[in-house]
Symmetry: C2
Subunit: 139 residues, 2 copies
């Protein structure tokens, strides 16, 4: 389970397993579903932990690197905008060179609508980003 993985990760990177990191991981293992760093910090505080906000923020990237956490939705900060046109599209983003491929698939849109219907969800807009490697970078 998570703890051994993290310990291994730290070891191979020459990093240390401090009690702060341990507390943070424990708390994360206890929580179910999404969380954000600040809430996590408050939770720890309330339980009497002495870990600092900085440590929480510093530990999260390590947990991601070690494969225990993943990043989910992003908060709407530092927004980008675009003029509305009739060509909605989604994005494939190369994590190596940053290339952005715009694509559009009516089938995909239809399928999404069906899924929303099933969940009784009234969809307004969506954002699909596929991360990976573009043709050039994938070799």
């Amino acid at each position: 389970m998570g703890k051994a993985v993290f310990k291994d990760f730290l070891y191979t990177k020459g990093l240390k397993l401090t009690k702060e990191r341990d507390e943070i991981l424990n708390e994360i293992l206890l929580t179910r579903g999404h969380f954000d760093p600040d809430k996590l910090y408050i939770q720890l505080k309330n339980k009497g932990s002495k870990v600092s906000r900085a440590s929480v923020y510093r530990t999260i990237p390590l947990l991601i690197q070690s494969g225990i956490l993943e990043q989910v939705e992003r908060i709407e900060r530092h927004a980008h905008y675009e003029k509305i046109s009739d060509n909605h599209h989604d994005h494939m983003i190369c994590t190596k060179c940053g290339k952005v491929i715009e694509f559009h698939s009516p089938d995909l849109e239809t399928l999404q609508e069906e899924l929303c219907l099933k969940e009784k969800f009234k969809s307004i807009r969506h954002s699909l980003e596929i991360f990976g490697y573009c043709d050039k970078c994938n070799n």
Copy 2:
């Protein structure tokens, strides 16, 4: 084109078409592709405009409401995390109450893979977020 739409929108809302709003819209109509509010503000400054940053930030929501702009992807500033599990899922996010519905569709995944293949894109992970209203909030 955009200007008339915006004027109409302002009129029906009892809002005023100020020269600042006009300048901002003009600049947006000139720019191609994505932009962010701060860059837009700098652009205007450089052209000798006197509009304030606040006005730029205040005008953008109006342009969105009037259907001229849309918000596109957000830059990597993550606020939410999740433990990695073997059940990948996507999200429907209610923009009213914040509820998050997790869902998974193998068809969707397959379709995405096909699209990537077509673009010669090696997909690693993806993030699909559908924004709208949940059952409760949609009435």
